[in-house]
């Protein structure tokens, strides 16, 4: 079957159709930016966008993305290499430490900021509270998201 990832079509084996999207991305397509950590949908390290919605790829089966569009961290920046405002804000606030959870955090944050253009701190916390960061970068994630929200608002305001 074909799956669409980051705007590109990939041929993958049809069976077993229930294999998790996470391992299809990592082991079959070589897109290792999406991380494994718990495998049961608790920690959020594996989050990707499916039709723009932040989704845990470790508990999403391959068959579940048939006909849908998958975006991973590798496809978040513009084709010309310009970082997504969330990626840029995570750099500007020097958020990551070990970095293992960061693809999931960034993908979740990016999807959330598409739906909420002017989030309050409480809204940011409730959007992000199910993503683990063992290194403890939560305060910086909050700051980076507030910064990214502003930058995205500025972008929308520009003609």
């Amino acid at each position: 079957m074909m799956i669409r990832v980051n705007g590109k079509d990939y041929q993958v084996a049809e069976e077993p159709a229930d294999r998790p999207l996470l391992w299809v991305l990592r082991d079959e397509l070589g897109l290792t930016g999406t991380k494994y950590s718990c495998g049961i949908g608790v920690c959020g390290s594996c989050e990707v966008h499916i039709d723009g919605v932040a989704t845990r790829s470790c508990i999403t089966s391959l068959s579940g993305v048939k006909g849908k569009s998958v975006r991973t961290i590798e496809g978040l920046a513009s084709p010309d290499g310009r970082l997504h405002p969330v990626q840029q804000a995570f750099l500007d606030e020097q958020v990551p430490q070990c970095g293992w959870c960061m693809s999931g955090q960034i993908m979740r944050a990016a999807a959330f900021l598409e739906t909420n253009h002017h989030p309050t701190e409480d809204q940011i916390v409730s959007a992000m509270k199910d993503n683990y960061c063992r290194c403890g970068t939560y305060g910086r994630i909050k700051r980076a998201m507030a910064r990214a929200a502003k930058e995205m608002a500025n972008k929308r305001a520009r003609p």
Partner: protein, 748 residues
């Protein structure tokens, strides 16, 4: 016995004569390699006496004696004017690669974008204890690394002087080049200087280091070099490493801590889809398959008969980890505390700290490509030399024929300094790779990782103390029983020579000044694996020590801050503890009123040449028993902060991880195994429970950098417990302070 002086460590066994050793600074050697296209300088920093290395870890002395002629750390100047630096340190997220690059760029006057840091493989230099632990990377390399870079700068200067026909002292190093002072037209780049030259000479005397006032990068919050690849998903960690024709391995794990394999029926595993080989060796059963899930499915189908051994229960482990009985080792003794307390102590208290997991978000992983005589290992590790050693031993090959290539590490906290030769993931990958003659990736799943860790050991403490008429501490006895922290992973002779676990004593040593004090340790071998967890002994021991000192302050009717200040020793560390205590108190409004239902707690500690104090503010839900730590103000004196923002990030990380460990994380053993199998049963702190952390960098200590990756985790437990007492008048003496324990304490 006299009071402990900085630099001294006194160890006394009740049954053996006193032994004593002193740490001293040593010079170091510089090695050179010339390839005709590049100039490379290296510093041998390997093979120190193991116990000295351990002493450094605890005392914070950053000594790096030279005893090895095969340099480990290399600076390489390339003809295209790039400086390549190979460091023996892992980037765990602590910012070490950036900090080390700052040191080199500064001494060499390099443009920042021309400096590249790489984690050296084990083929580059030998060091038996080569790894990333003990908050030692910047602290230990600060001087030797700068010295090497300065030496390279002076060698380049001498060559530039020849080329420009000028006296060396007229030349100015700037932006990766030399020029005659005031005449930029004479500029000649380092790259031009190294091209083609082969007759380099090392200078006779060591080069002068730059003056502090001339630092360009040291002391600046230079953006971390590892972050651009991390936000783009491009950084390659052990779990991400791939090779052409790579296969996947899965290994059978024992169902209990003491399980012994009796028989194996591999049944139809070999015929299952994708399976390449079923490997059965003495005590080892693994499967190699074309995909991860195929390997796991085949592994799970194998029937193994086990002798499960004794089915250990939590209560039995608590009994083992209890002070008293045989094996007491006196670690610290001044005056005669026992005699003073014999008359009846003013205060006694018992504390206990449960087991904890590292729970790195990247589980254990290695890729091995083994050929006849040896091979290569790519792995997320904090101790690459141990990986090489154990893989070589398991394969029966020479250690030099096993090259370990470290990758980015998805969380370490001590877990990836694993030296267990039996359950080492790299050994598993190597055995499987040898069996199939192809590269094999072994990545543990969360269940394997959480259930087969080495854990932060349980610890038990008994404190007793008495106050004099002026309400000062007259005598204190600390008794500690603990599972192994460092003893288990260091060679036997180290443990025998020292008798005590240097990791476990961190934080339990009595720093406060008093005429009579004694600290006794019972090192207990547990039937479950234990080892170093961020801060070694700091997390459990500073919780208990700083909680008990708080109890004494309240017994003395004194303000907990004032009481601490009144008992600090008149030493350098004492002065630096005073500075951070005062700063954290001032910045947090210590002593000023809070809104109803809020209270503050204060605690401090010292480790790896750094002092840190924290004030935290909590609230409590009495219905649920849930404590919420709202904010923490941390003041840290880590000497010279090479990269201040990286220091701040480490404080934030330590406080957050410490909050998680203090409030919610506990490993419970039942029927010979760990109960929790995944994060649904062992949750970590999330954003909604994380405190706001404000960090204040205090002063410059003695001018050298101190360690920052671990010290700030020490005070967290006591900050929460002391605030809880201020709020409720009830003392919490068991970590973690779970809702059940909180409710029980409140109702008793």
């Amino acid at each position: 016995m006299s009071a402990l002086k900085e630099g001294d460590r006194v160890v006394r066994d009740k049954t053996t004569p006193s032994s004593r050793w002193r740490l001293s600074r040593r010079g170091f050697l510089i090695g050179m390699a010339v390839t005709g296209t590049a100039l490379a300088l290296g510093i041998p920093i390997g093979l120190p006496v193991a116990r000295r290395r351990v002493a450094e870890l605890v005392s914070g002395e950053g000594i790096l004696p030279a005893s090895d002629l095969n340099p480990l750390l290399w600076l390489e100047m390339l003809p295209d004017n790039r400086l390549r630096v190979f460091v023996p340190k892992a980037e765990l997220g602590q910012g070490t690669h950036t900090g080390l690059a700052q040191l080199a760029a500064d001494e060499l006057e390099m443009p920042w974008e021309r400096v590249e840091v790489l984690h050296a493989s084990t083929a580059q230099g030998e060091d038996k204890y080569r790894g990333t632990y003990g908050s030692q990377s910047i602290l230990g390399l600060y001087e030797p690394f700068r010295r090497a870079a300065a030496t390279m700068r002076e060698m380049l200067r001498a060559e530039a002087a020849v080329r420009l026909k000028q006296p060396p002292n007229r030349l100015l190093a700037r932006n990766g080049a030399f020029e005659v002072s005031g005449d930029p037209k004479t500029r000649i780049t380092y790259g031009e200087l190294v091209s083609g030259k082969t007759n380099w000479r090392l200078p006779n005397k060591p080069a002068t280091l730059k003056a502090v006032g001339a630092f360009k990068f040291i002391g600046q919050s230079v953006p971390r070099v590892d972050l651009p690849p991390k936000v783009k998903g491009e950084a390659v960690y052990g779990y991400d490493f791939r090779m052409a024709s790579m296969l996947y391995g899965a290994v059978v794990r024992p169902p209990t801590f003491e399980a012994k394999m009796l028989s194996v029926k591999s049944g139809h595993a070999l015929g299952m889809p994708g399976v390449v080989k079923v490997v059965v060796e003495e005590g080892f059963v693994g499967v190699v398959a074309k995909s991860r899930s195929q390997a796991a499915a085949a592994r799970d189908s194998i029937e193994v008969q086990w002798d499960r051994g004794h089915l250990w229960q939590q209560a039995e482990l608590e009994r083992i980890i209890t002070v008293g009985g045989r094996g007491a080792l006196v670690v610290q003794s001044d005056g005669d505390a026992a005699a003073v307390l014999a008359g009846g102590p003013s205060l006694t208290a018992e504390y206990r700290v449960g087991f904890g997991a590292h729970a790195t978000l990247e589980p254990q992983v290695a890729v091995a490509d083994i050929k006849a005589k040896g091979g290569k290992i790519w792995t997320s590790t904090q101790w690459e030399s141990a990986v090489a050693e154990h893989v070589a031993k398991a394969l029966g090959v020479k250690e030099k024929h096993v090259e370990v290539i470290p990758t980015y590490v998805g969380g370490g906290f001590g877990r990836k300094a694993d030296t267990d030769s039996v359950t080492h993931v790299a050994v598993e990958a190597a055995l499987l790779s040898r069996a199939v003659g192809a590269p094999v990736h072994v990545g543990w799943d969360r269940r394997e990782d959480l259930g087969h860790e080495f854990y932060r050991p349980m610890a038990h403490y008994r404190f007793s103390a008495s106050l004099d008429d002026r309400k000062r501490i007259k005598a204190m006895v600390v008794e500690q029983a603990t599972g192994e922290v460092l003893l288990g992973i260091l060679p036997d002779f180290v443990g025998r020579a020292m008798g005590i676990d240097m990791g476990a004593i961190a934080g339990a040593y009595i720093l406060y000044d008093m005429p009579n004090r004694e600290f006794t340790q019972w090192m207990r071998k547990l039937p479950i694996p234990t080892g170093p967890w961020r801060g070694v002994g700091l997390f459990p021991s500073v919780f208990t020590m700083e909680s008990f000192v708080d109890e004494l302050a309240h017994a003395a009717g004194a303000d907990p801050l004032r009481f601490r200040l009144d008992h600090l020793p008149r030493t350098g560390i004492g002065a630096r503890l005073r500075a951070v205590l005062i700063k954290s108190a001032e910045a947090s409004g210590w002593g000023t009123p809070l809104s109803a239902g809020r209270a503050r707690g204060i605690a401090c500690c010292t480790y790896a040449g750094t002092t840190v104090a924290e004030v935290g503010e909590i609230s409590l839900s009495r219905d649920t028993g849930k404590i919420r730590l709202h904010r923490v103000v941390a003041a840290i004196d880590c000497g010279r902060a090479v990269n201040p923002d990286a220091v701040i990030a480490q404080v934030e990380g330590c406080v957050t991880m410490g909050t998680s460990a203090a409030l919610i994380e506990e490993i419970i053993v039942k029927d010979g195994r760990v109960v929790a199998e995944n994060f649904d049963q062992y949750p970590l702190l999330t954003m909604d429970g994380a405190p706001e952390v404000r960090t204040i960098l205090v002063g410059r200590g003695d001018g050298r950098p101190g360690g920052v990756g671990e010290p700030p985790i020490g005070p967290v437990g006591a900050v929460i417990g002391n605030a809880f007492f201020a709020l409720t008048g009830v003392r919490l003496r068991y970590l973690p302070m779970t809702p059940d324990r909180v409710k029980k304490a409140l109702s008793s």
